[in-house]
């Protein structure tokens, strides 16, 4: 193609055209990048300004005297609803919910993918189809049925508490959220792992069978150690989704001490005691966004690689 295009360019005196094309392309790219980065930039600079500077200055200007106070206030002092102890408690609430939910849903997805590809049973395709269907169920349609189920589980927890002495976490809002996110996440994690394991050489499983490894030994010693790329993809995907979830969080843990970060952030912004502290709000929002950013930075290159591997081989 290039050999054919070259003479044409020379005839039309195309060196200039080429440069103009480049300028337009890169100019547009820079513009879009700016467009996307602007909110982040505003958030960052605002979170380091004093209220005085925010009210009198330009939104885009860099802070004249950068201060960490809004961050400290957001972390430890700002009011969430009626309690004024900062967002740190809610940050840990989110961690306590996200880590188990991500790990459980990822492990279940891996196990499902393993069974659906390497231990095929009658109707495996149908089961996979139904699990795939779970990916398309809108959050909203699950809200009420799930609330009913969580209510029943809560009552079971109470009666267990009375009879056995422990509720096994049933009825605890954090446990409820973990349960909801695991159930909702299984469809996606299964899809990821099934597609990855579909391309995974079956001869390895056969060799391990001849070697005498059991179902779970094959899973733990052969499958999992060779699933790093898809494992990272799934963890990032699940972590981002669950951490950022607001709907389930506000519906099932919207009040009290166990609300996750997203709900707390909303309450920080909505708490109207006098002047709106933009710098503190921005700092709180940044803190809420940090974990997902961190996960991307640490594992981002695996993300692209893993998605590619699944796409090409699957």
């Amino acid at each position: 193609m290039s050999t054919m295009a070259a003479p044409v360019r020379q005839v039309s005196g195309g060196v200039n055209v080429k440069i103009v094309n480049r300028v337009v392309i890169y100019g547009l790219l820079a513009l879009f990048a700016l467009f996307y980065l602007m909110p982040l930039f505003v958030m960052l600079v605002t979170s380091f300004k004093t209220m005085n500077e925010i009210q009198n200055g330009n939104m885009l200007s860099l802070p004249k005297a950068p201060t960490f106070d809004p961050w400290l206030k957001a972390w430890g002092e700002t009011c969430v609803g009626l309690t004024c102890a900062g967002i740190k408690g809610y940050f840990w609430n989110s961690i306590k919910m996200v880590v188990p939910a991500v790990l459980i849903s990822t492990m279940l997805g891996a196990l499902n993918g393993y069974v659906l590809t390497k231990w095929r049973f009658r109707g495996a395709t149908l089961v996979f189809g139904l699990m795939l269907f779970a990916c398309f169920i809108p959050f909203q349609s699950v809200l009420l049925p799930m609330a009913t189920i969580l209510g029943s589980l809560g009552r079971l927890g109470v009666s267990l508490q009375n009879s056995v002495g422990t509720s096994f976490g049933l009825g605890n809002p954090t446990v409820n959220l973990v349960f909801v996110h695991v159930v909702y996440g299984i469809g996606f994690t299964t899809l990821f792992f099934r597609n990855y394991y579909e391309a995974f050489p079956t001869e390895l499983v056969k060799a391990a069978q001849v070697d005498g490894a059991s179902f779970f030994q094959i899973f733990r010693r052969i499958m999992l150690p060779n699933s790093m790329p898809i494992f990272v993809v799934t963890v990032i995907y699940q972590f981002t989704n669950i951490w950022n979830d607001f709907l389930f969080a506000s519906a099932y843990a919207g009040t009290g001490d166990s609300m996750p970060m997203t709900v707390a952030l909303n309450n920080v912004v909505n708490t109207s005691t006098g002047v709106v502290e933009y710098n503190v709000n921005m700092a709180a929002a940044m803190i809420a966004a940090l974990p997902t950013l961190l996960v991307y930075v640490l594992a981002g290159r695996y993300f692209v690689r893993g998605l590619m591997a699944g796409a090409v081989k699957g």
């Binding site: 001869e203 390895l204 056969k206 060799a207 069978q209 001849v210 070697d211 005498g212 052969i222 150690p225």
Partner: protein, 371 residues
Amino acid sequence: MAFLEINGLRKRFGQVEILKGIDLELEKGGFLVLVGPSGCGKSTLLNTIAGLETITSGEIRIDDRAVNDLHPSKRDIAMVFQSYALYPNMTVAGNISFGMEMRGVPADERQKAIDKVAKVLQIGHLLQRKPSQLSGGQRQRVAMGRALVRDPKLFLFDEPLSNLDAKLRVDMRIEIKRLHATTGTTIVYVTHDQIEAMTLATKIAVMRDGEVQQFGTPAEIYNNPANVFVADFMGSPAMNLIPATIGGDGSGMAVVLDREARQPITLPMTNAPAGLSAFKGKPVIFGVRPEALTDPEGAERNASHIATADCHIEVVEPAGSDTFAVTNLGGKGVVARLRADANIQPGTSTPLAFNLTKAVFFDPATENRIR
């Protein structure tokens, strides 16, 4: 009592019958090669012996013990896979000892076994490497090491050489043969390469469409093929299968080979198989291997029955050690194998010697051998 016995084995996937009643047996220390074109069921048969596939009916016995319902790890077998199936996350040593680890062999015994196998296969310097850091031949050795270390009753090889380049394949073939000779193990080996089958086997089973076409020693398979398929499949260049008619008068018989625009060739038969008399005046398939069709000087001296006829040579292919000449008989290109220095020119006629002692005849309707 055979060491490995397969009786009436059938395997069905839904409505499709993959194995249609296989009967085979192999003595201890034997080397059985299952050979056939792709899709003939040879790999499935191997997998059923390994226990990786269930069987629909029939029986598999290893060392006089029915293993039909035993888990692969309980059958006392080891398997080398086509892709080698080395665990990518483990070192070579880890790969070799994984099976022992699963069976709970203590660490020091495992180490001893690894060292012993590494010495036999000369892979001692590779033990700490990962499979991705090995060449094709080295992976092949490790895969064999993983099988050897178990010291099983039966070795199963599933096309182990098909991923190697031509030169390495010949080297590894010799290596496997040497291994078999020195260790005296019993081996079942699947391949689609008839040369591997001929060189390695003590017994060959030629398979097609889930059935064993012929089961016998390499010499039996090569010299006495049971039907057209076996004759055609085994040997390179392939056996010439020439449409012919049986002529002759009274008690004497002759093979008549038509030629385009030339007089037919008539080869008198003195040692015709008994069954051939029923085909007098009828068409048959006349099978003669290229090495049994040669220049008169190069013909086998102690062959009792040689007929010579002038043939028109169409193509000459010097191959270094031999010269192959193509002539047209019965409407088909027929390959003759001559001495390397045979002086022949394409487009001329030259006498060719048919070694009729080695010739075979098939019924064109059933494609079975006429004996």
